[in-house]
């Protein structure tokens, strides 16, 4: 027994310290500005990474914090992408309102889907999310008049942000825009996971059986975070449509749903930054490996995934933070 005297004040202080910004976080975000100066030719790739990171962040909120596993989250990414594309085609090219509307649309669909999601667990949950994803993709495939089917949609150039920053060919505006949206959504996610709601989500993840026994109607927590996550995934999809001016059925594909889970597992679940680190590693690896051999790059991703899962069960970030000796 130690004789450190614990008091209410210690307890409060400890909880506050759990959500404090560390210098590493600030350095991390500053480092994300580097592509502007060091790798200007890679800005389009950097935008892709920021979009993938936002998508992975949305999955971390449900998978890493609320214990809801999914293999169909591309459904919401795709819904957001098509929503933004259709707005653009209809003549509304204002990016920020388009982004928010797309997120809202995906969020509403996510809320409706959540009524099924909270009724199942484990394998059944995987199958339901997978099934919903496949249904949505085939629906988009069938509605050719709306979605362009396999040809996809071409969208007129998105209007300048704030009527000032034009989307340029080099991708300066594109990366600035996607990074800003990623950062804002990250701040929001950080707030969510550090709230009493976030604590309840961790309770669901840690022991769903105990939750009702402490008086928690936890299904409503799960529904809420699922809708928030769907909205965020929808915004990621909208960013892709707005910055690339095209949308194809690929945005709804099973591959995209699976890749985002792989990114998250690589980076580490339940720590927000894992989503971003995972997206960076996955997309840079793909870019480099596809340059070496465009056909077999998934081989290396598969190998990397196995190494991480076997030797770093909490992902690359979990491994790093253990090396650094911080509380996990």
């Amino acid at each position: 027994m130690t004789d450190t005297t614990f008091t209410q004040a210690t307890a409060r202080g400890w909880l506050r310290s759990q959500s404090r910004w560390s210098p590493f976080e600030i350095i991390f975000w500053l480092a994300l500005l580097l592509p502007f100066f060091l790798f200007p030719t890679y800005l389009p790739l950097a935008s892709q990474i920021a979009i993938a990171a936002l998508f992975a962040l949305s999955v971390d909120l449900i998978l890493g914090y609320a214990g809801i596993i999914t293999l169909g989250h591309a459904m919401f990414f795709g819904l957001g992408a098509y929503c933004a594309a259709l707005l653009g085609k209809a003549g509304w090219g204002e990016p920020i309102s388009g982004l928010l509307l797309s997120g809202l649309f995906a969020g509403i669909i996510g809320f409706i889907a959540s009524f099924i999601i909270v009724r199942v667990q484990h394998l059944a949950l995987l199958m339901i999310t997978l099934g919903l994803g496949l249904l949505t993709q085939e629906l988009a495939n069938a509605l050719t008049w709306l979605t362009g089917g396999t040809d996809g949609l071409r969208i007129p150039r998105t209007w300048p942000i704030f009527n000032y920053f034009r989307f340029d060919l080099w991708g300066y505006t594109g990366y600035g825009y996607t990074l800003a949206v990623l950062f804002i959504c990250f701040l929001l996610s950080r707030r969510i996971v550090n709230s009493s709601f976030g604590l309840a989500l961790r309770g669901v993840r840690e022991n769903i059986k105990r939750m009702p026994a402490i008086g928690s109607a936890y299904q409503s927590h799960q529904q809420k975070i699922y809708a928030i996550s769907a909205a965020m995934a929808g915004m990621a999809g909208a960013l892709l449509a707005q910055t690339t001016s095209t949308v194809t059925l690929e945005v709804l594909s099973f591959n995209r749903s699976a890749d985002v889970v792989v990114m998250l597992i690589l980076g580490g679940t339940g720590r927000l930054y894992g989503a971003i680190v995972g997206a960076i590693i996955f997309l840079i690896a793909r870019d480099q490996l596809a340059g070496v051999n465009p056909q077999y790059w998934y081989f290396w991703i598969g190998l990397l995934l196995m190494v991480v899962v076997l030797f770093m069960p909490k992902g690359i970030l979990g491994f790093v933070s253990r090396l650094a000796g911080r509380r996990d």
Binding site: L15, R202, A217
Partner: protein
């Protein structure tokens, strides 16, 4: 005497079958305000099943459960907890990666209905945090409040089981073998903590150690083969022929 105190929790002819096996046979039980009842019976008597029925983990095939005059037979588990009917588990059912402080704060926040507030930082819920810390302190868990639950000694985890239940401010507390797996000297300590709980809380506990039962229970309920055998004072139960037979019969076989 206990008879004059108002009844807080009551079961009426509670029955449950698992296939052909009758695990609870028409159990009618009354828990008065502020009681300290022990629920005993040989292995397989259906003690845990009875608690599962009362708290809603299982649905009875027939019979009624009445809490404070309200029929709660069909209420979900969480709704019963919010009405003041809480249990602990025989096998630790905790949140392994949360600290005790976080876990108990969570339970307090659920009671205060503030867990939906995703826009407010947790550290802003000062009352909840202070209350959680006070509960932990009372259960001698203050010094480990910020350690991860999975790293706590087993005895401490048993106390945390109770701390989580207390955070819901129960009127009726059902303790399913609170000292299960705890060494004898520690279980005495555990029960002295239990006996110091507020007097207006009605408590029913399952326990196998008869020394503890006779020391801490004001009345004893004996369950055999799913049915209620006796419900009486410790002295009366001790000298009851039928109870003796059940336990001695067990001893002969064992």
């Amino acid at each position: 005497m206990a008879e004059t105190k108002p009844i807080v929790l009551q079961t009426e002819a509670l029955t449950k079958n698992f296939g052909a096996l009758q695990v609870t046979r028409s159990v009618s039980l009354k828990l008065p305000h502020g009681c300290r009842h022990a629920l005993i019976g040989p292995n397989g008597a259906g003690k845990t099943t009875l608690i599962n029925l009362i708290t809603g983990q299982l649905k009875p095939d027939s019979g009624r459960i009445i809490l404070d005059g309200n029929d709660i037979t069909d209420a979900p588990v969480a709704a019963r907890v919010r009405k003041g009917l809480t249990r602990t588990f025989q096998i630790n059912t905790l949140f392994p990666d949360l600290t005790p402080l976080e876990a108990v704060t969570l339970a307090v926040c659920e009671r205060q209905k503030v867990t939906g507030q995703f826009w407010r930082g947790l550290s802003a819920q000062q009352e909840a945090i202070d209350e959680a810390y006070d509960i932990l302190e009372k259960l001698k868990l203050g010094d480990v409040a910020t350690r991860t639950t999975r790293t706590l000694a087993y005895g401490r985890q048993r106390l945390l089981e109770i701390a989580l239940a207390l955070a819901t401010r129960p009127k009726v507390l059902l303790l399913d073998e609170p000292a299960a797996g705890v060494p004898k000297d520690e279980s005495q300590m555990l029960f002295s903590v239990i006996s110091s709980l507020p007097e207006d809380m009605s408590i029913l506990f399952i326990e196998h150690d008869m020394d503890i039962v006779f020391r801490f229970a004001s009345r004893i309920v004996v369950l055999v083969a799913g049915g209620l055998l006796v419900e009486d004072t410790p002295d009366a139960v001790r000298s009851d022929e039928r109870v003796r037979e059940v336990y001695l019969g067990q001893a002969h076989h064992g």
